[in-house]
Amino acid sequence: MTQRAIPHLASALETAVAHLLSRREPEGFWRGRLSASALATATAVSALLLGGEAADRPLIRAGIAWLRAAQRADGGWGDTPESPSNLPTTLLVLAAFRLAGEPDSAADRRYAVARAGRTPAEWRAAILRSYGADRTFAVPILMHGALAGLTPWAGIPDLPFELAAVPRAWYPALRLRVVSYALPALIAVGLLLDDRRPPRHPLLRAARRLAAPRVLDTLARIQPEHGGFLEAAPLTAFVAMALIGRFGAAHPVARRCLAFLRDGVRADGSWPIDTDLSVWVTTNALTALGAAGALEAIDVPAMRRWVAARQYTAEHPYTGAAPGGWGWTHRPGGVPDADDTAGAMLALARLGETAPLAAGARWLRGLQNRDGGWPTFCRGWGRLPFDTSAPDVTAHAVRALRAAGVGDAARRRGMAYLEAAQGADGAWTPLWFGNQATADGTNRTYGTARVLRAYAVLAPDALAAHRGVAWLVGAQREDGGWGGGVEAPSTIEETALALSALADWPQAPGVAEALTRGTAYLLRRIEAGSWTISAPIGLYFARLWYDEALYPVVWTVEALGRMRHIFGEAVDR
């Protein structure tokens, strides 16, 4: 269906495509740029300090200076330079200052004091409260605080590292209170806590003595060649700190961790939360260029090869995942996951490369949970949110299976999960994206838009789809854009995602007008030159905020490409 042409749509799309193309690496793929992170910088600086290498002093000085400059007016630190202060990040920065011998003044402590109280015990309690049952992040933060003398060792919950010695197949049954991706922290931090506060029970002490060498072997085996676990500076730094605390800086795993941290520092002295999302942004970019009809601008065979070469062809040592999946980055620390595997499959299908899809589909089907949904990394590991089924991941997976032309039954179960996961208001809540401006930090625009893309190809007439469309139309703001929810201000990212999703239902009530107003919003932002500033809508492990410079660009190209099909071409004059 072609509606009335929108003036300047074609040239805005041309500019958006040109900008996206300009962000490629010389090899042709996209690396993107993740925001700098106070949390990553504080932990990296602390690990290097504990490593004690004189050659690291310039990095440490630069890191501390960056942290000083990143302090917010309320005295605290946030996840990204545009995020509000939060207690975990603030305590990690204060710990880094302590370790660096920098006096933390009353001004530095005022946010922590206001949020958690004056005493170290109150800070510890506040950290434990903020993460609830999930110890994945709370315990390493408290360990970091204790190493710096900021918070006490006493009262830090135990991490049962010895459980990492049991066969991997048993993990789901153990109901661990750390999520699947945090195995290195479980081992390293658990070992340090065991050293500082040996268990009283002689049997447990003995069991841990026996398990220690074995889990250390596991830790060494799952460490990537460059040393960075999951490409994540915080996780790698926590592991380094714990191992140095227990075994000294000469421990080989710790040394490799420190080498990774040195390699990951940015010129301004900061560290990002993760090295990059190269596979994720590249596959999203390819799909967007396909939607915009602009694939002729790239070397398609080379990009097919690049994406195909990122598929894991052997069991992954970190999660024990079977071959066939893709991770978020091309670097050694990546781990296969459902979202990136789906993204890669959809991009390859768009590029006309079908050979790798069968293995990808097999891998996805093997990951599907009993409830029909897809988790991110490991099937049935536990009940913590990052290991359970998620609507955004599930929607992506069913679209990928359809692109591969397999998995009818799996897709049906996936769609049933999506129907069950729909909120009473018709929206879906995603796992890996949020919005700082919504009351609960969720991003239902992202979730609903992503799920509707699955419904569009698998069940366009379903009631759930129409309820989702109605929610999305109702969430449009007065200015024509969308935010993370009804109450959040419009952003380029969410507006583009909403438009791309609604493009599949141009005949639904209210959609035609929503598309016109939404496109006008995007054009106003593009013509103002304010469309490439990214918003912190990404959620990293442990619900840490990040923003990615390419998100607004990629999703705008896709949205305008889809809008061009609806509104047709208009000659710009």
Binding site: A18, E82, D268, Y521, R524, I526, G529
Partner: protein, 504 residues
């Protein structure tokens, strides 16, 4: 007598954006100088204060004038919105003030020009230094007279602060608006007037070119815009992300007439690509450009018409006769013999330019022909009477020694010809660390010195010529020449110093 309660909305900018310049080139010079040049001399000679009318600025950056016009169109009265220079802020900000709007060019000094000039000459670039000083003044005025007033910042340099909450807090800035904002300025200032909460970073929203409000008072250097954006996607330029939009001739003429009424006879006609004005897609329309110039030249009182940017690809679409007609229309009866135009060649290596998103800018030109294509277009401009001013970027991502060598040879190829060439050091536009002078090789320095051989010869001539054309008195022209000699001596010494320290 009761004290003046202040204007509800005060708009301002630092001196580098709001001075009483005589020429467009004065503004370029001001943004190229650093505090290594004597502040007294620079402040009085290069960027003297602009005259005032009733305590208000007679000239202000075009961006401020557009916001002022949008507010006036939206119902704010002249008594509610005042555009004032820094010196007048203590008299303009009072208890009634609810918002101070600031136009920023170089708030952090991260722009390529600032990092290059500060790196080579030492000191801090004047745009950065003056912005810092302005913010101190604004904060002091707010504390003293209007503690509840909000400071809202926009302008071409606002992107430098959009992702840096801590620096904004340190500067006392409450809100940053990115990009053009005629589309939401009214709504934002109304909210500020009502003391409604606003986000810290606010994306600007544009209006269609035909709905851009005409200015209501004069602009610094008599600047009018004929188009916005460029849209060709080069990775090193923020305006490459904005599609080119052409302003209607009627609006341009109205803006020129407003400037004439404000006493600005010499007009700067700005575009990211002057020769692309009125283009349909990438297809240039010489008759549209010539028609616009004829209209402007026909306005009573117009002096020298100055342009800034042009692209080789667009120049190629003009015949020699059309280029010569453009020159004649720009100069008019002023007697100027050296009208200049800036062309962003960036590098003689087409492959390097393409790798940095320059493919659309190059059009259909092959990688290995980019240097010679640009040289041909530059010589066509020279034959048409222009003094071309080329900009090059050193240290583009992926630059190889061979790229530097090719650009050096390209620069040396203009020996004896009337041209100026300004190499700048690459600085990423999305943050990240800029290239520093320490990272330059000896070959880079050889290239810089070769370029400045032309500049030291032709910039004094350009200045003499253009200043005479706009009626700058002889004593002032002499002072500029003397300052130029001093600067040239200082720069030669700095080049020698840096080149001696450079790696191989």
């Amino acid at each position: 007598m009761t004290a003046f309660p202040g204007y509800p909305i005060v708009l301002t900018a630092d001196r580098t954006l709001m001075a009483g310049y005589s020429l467009l080139f004065d503004g370029m010079l001001a943004s190229s100088l650093t505090t290594a040049a004597p502040p007294g001399l620079v402040g009085r000679l290069v960027m003297p204060p602009a005259p005032l009318t009733d305590g208000r600025a007679t000239v202000a950056p075009l961006g401020i004038r557009r916001i002022e016009a949008a507010l006036r169109e939206g119902g704010f009265t002249r008594d509610e919105v005042a555009v004032v220079p820094e010196e007048e802020l203590p008299r303009a900000i009072g208890p009634r003030t609810c918002a101070v709007g600031i136009c920023a060019g170089e708030p952090t000094g991260h722009g390529m020009n600032s990092t290059t000039m500060a790196g080579i000459a030492g000191g801090i670039s004047y745009p950065h230094a003056h912005f810092t000083r302005l913010m101190a003044t604004v904060r002091a005025c707010r504390t003293a007279a209007a503690p509840k007033a909000k400071i809202i910042l926009g302008g071409p340099g606002s992107w430098q602060l959009a992702g840096d909450a801590a620096r904004r807090a340190a500067l006392g800035i409450d809100h940053v608006v990115t990009g053009y904002a005629e589309g939401n300025a009214l709504e934002l200032f109304r909210a500020l007037r009502l003391r409604d909460p606003l986000p810290a970073v606010i994306p600007g929203e544009a209006v269609p070119a035909e709905a851009i409000p005409p200015i209501v008072d004069g602009t610094t250097m008599g600047v009018v815009e004929i188009s916005r954006g460029c849209g060709w996607g080069c990775a090193f330029c923020t305006l490459a992300r904005v599609p080119m939009r052409h302003l209607p001739e009627e609006l341009i003429v109205a803006d020129v007439q407003t400037n004439l009424r404000a006493g600005m006879a010499d007009i700067a006609v700005l575009s990211e690509d002057f020769f692309r004005y009125g283009a349909i897609g990438a297809s240039v329309q010489p008759e549209r450009v010539l028609g616009l110039l004829q209209w402007l030249r026909g306005l009573h009182g117009v002096g020298l018409l100055q342009i800034d940017h042009a692209n080789a690809r667009s120049v190629a679409g003009f015949s020699a006769d059309e280029l010569a007609r453009v020159t004649r229309l720009l100069v008019g009866e002023t007697g100027a013999e050296l009208p200049w135009v800036n062309m962003g060649v960036e590098t003689a290596s087409g492959a390097l330019l393409r790798r940095n998103g320059g493919g659309p800018k190059m059009g259909g030109v092959m990688d290995d022909e980019w240097g010679s294509f640009c040289a041909v277009q530059l010589r066509r401009l020279i034959r048409a009477g222009f003094l071309p001013m080329v900009s090059l970027i050193l240290g583009l991502p992926g630059e190889t020694p061979e790229d530097v060598e090719a650009t050096l040879r390209w620069v040396e190829g203009f020996r004896g010809e009337p041209i100026t060439i300004f190499p700048v050091l690459y600085a990423p536009v999305d943050g990240g660390a800029p290239l520093t002078v320490r990272a330059l090789t000896r070959r880079h320095w050889q290239l810089i010195r070769a370029a400045y051989t032309y500049n030291f010869r032709w910039i004094p001539r350009l200045y003499r010529d253009n200043q005479a054309a706009v009626g700058v008195p002889p004593w002032k022209r002499l002072l500029f020449q003397m300052m130029g000699w001093g600067q040239a001596m200082q720069w030669r010494a700095r080049f020698a110093l840096h080149a001696g320290r450079a790696r191989g």
